[in-house]
């Protein structure tokens, strides 16, 4: 094996190691809730919890809106209260599901995770972002922290019936 091949293999290994999970399937009922919340909250940001299961593929089965508790201008910021978070984890245990992430909207902005998102991101969670342009959902992307560094990678979002 020559050096070029060797380093390509090393890179490949690193990619598969740090990005073992990179696909997220969002079921239609969950997507619908997020879209509705995003449109109704426009021009403010909205947010909520995502629940589901994880076997080979992470699957979001339920989206539950929560109050954006950010004080002041909510057009470019969201915050979820600790009490709401506590209840979300309890809900997951009581309903035998898993809290897999959080969604929020980017009104008049692309669905790209921002530095504000990165600053507070937790490992393991999927951060689903909906871009809402002129009160219409324009794009859906999902982001997740690498296991070994403080940066996001984009998960491949699988949707059914996205219109």
């Amino acid at each position: 094996m020559n050096n070029t091949q060797e380093s390509a293999n090393a890179r490949e290994y690193k990619n598969t190691r740090t990005r073992a999970h990179d696909k997220i399937k969002i079921l239609p009922q969950a997507l619908e809730v997020m879209q509705k919340d995003g449109i109704e909250s426009f021009p403010n940001e909205c947010c909520g919890f995502l629940y589901g299961s994880e076997t080979d593929v992470r699957q979001i089965e339920l989206a539950v809106p929560v109050v954006n508790s950010k004080e002041g201008d909510q057009r470019r910021r969201f915050e979820i209260s600790p009490l709401a978070y506590m209840k979300a984890e309890r809900f997951a245990i009581e309903n035998n599901t898993t809290l897999l992430g959080v969604y929020h909207t980017h009104p008049q902005h692309p669905a790209i995770a921002s530095e504000h998102d990165l600053a507070k991101a937790m490992p393991y969670f999927s951060y689903v972002i909906l871009s809402v342009i002129d009160a219409k959902v324009d794009d859906v992307k999902s982001w997740r922290l690498y296991d070994d560094k403080r940066a996001f990678y984009e998960e491949t979002v699988e949707l059914e019936n996205f219109s």
């Binding site: 969201f78 979820i80 978070y85 921002s114 600053a119 507070k120 490992p123």
Partner: protein, 91 residues
């Protein structure tokens, strides 16, 4: 014995267990018990001075321990302790 609910992002440090049972009589003892049993958790919950990190909230029942007696808050057998990460962002 009191129960601690582990938030999903930290469950990889508890062998995927969602709850932890502790004999600790205060929040401080309970957290110490948890982080010595699952020591990968310590750096995510505690700072270098062994204080609870500023972006982590601890609730006893429905109350933030900052409104009670901080980590000296007493817990009993029926208490549920929650470890809560800050969730926020923007665009």
């Amino acid at each position: 014995m009191a129960q601690i609910i582990i938030p999903t992002p930290l469950r990889k440090f508890t062998n995927n267990e969602s709850t932890f049972t502790t004999k600790g009589a205060t929040v401080k003892e309970a957290i110490a018990d948890l982080t010595t049993t699952h020591n990968g958790l310590a750096k995510h919950i505690l700072d270098d001075q062994n204080n609870i990190r500023t972006f982590i909230r601890i609730y006893v029942g429905d109350d933030d321990i900052n409104t009670l007696e901080k980590d000296a808050t007493a817990i009993s057998d029926s208490t549920v302790v929650s470890i809560i990460p800050a969730i926020a962002g923007g665009c």
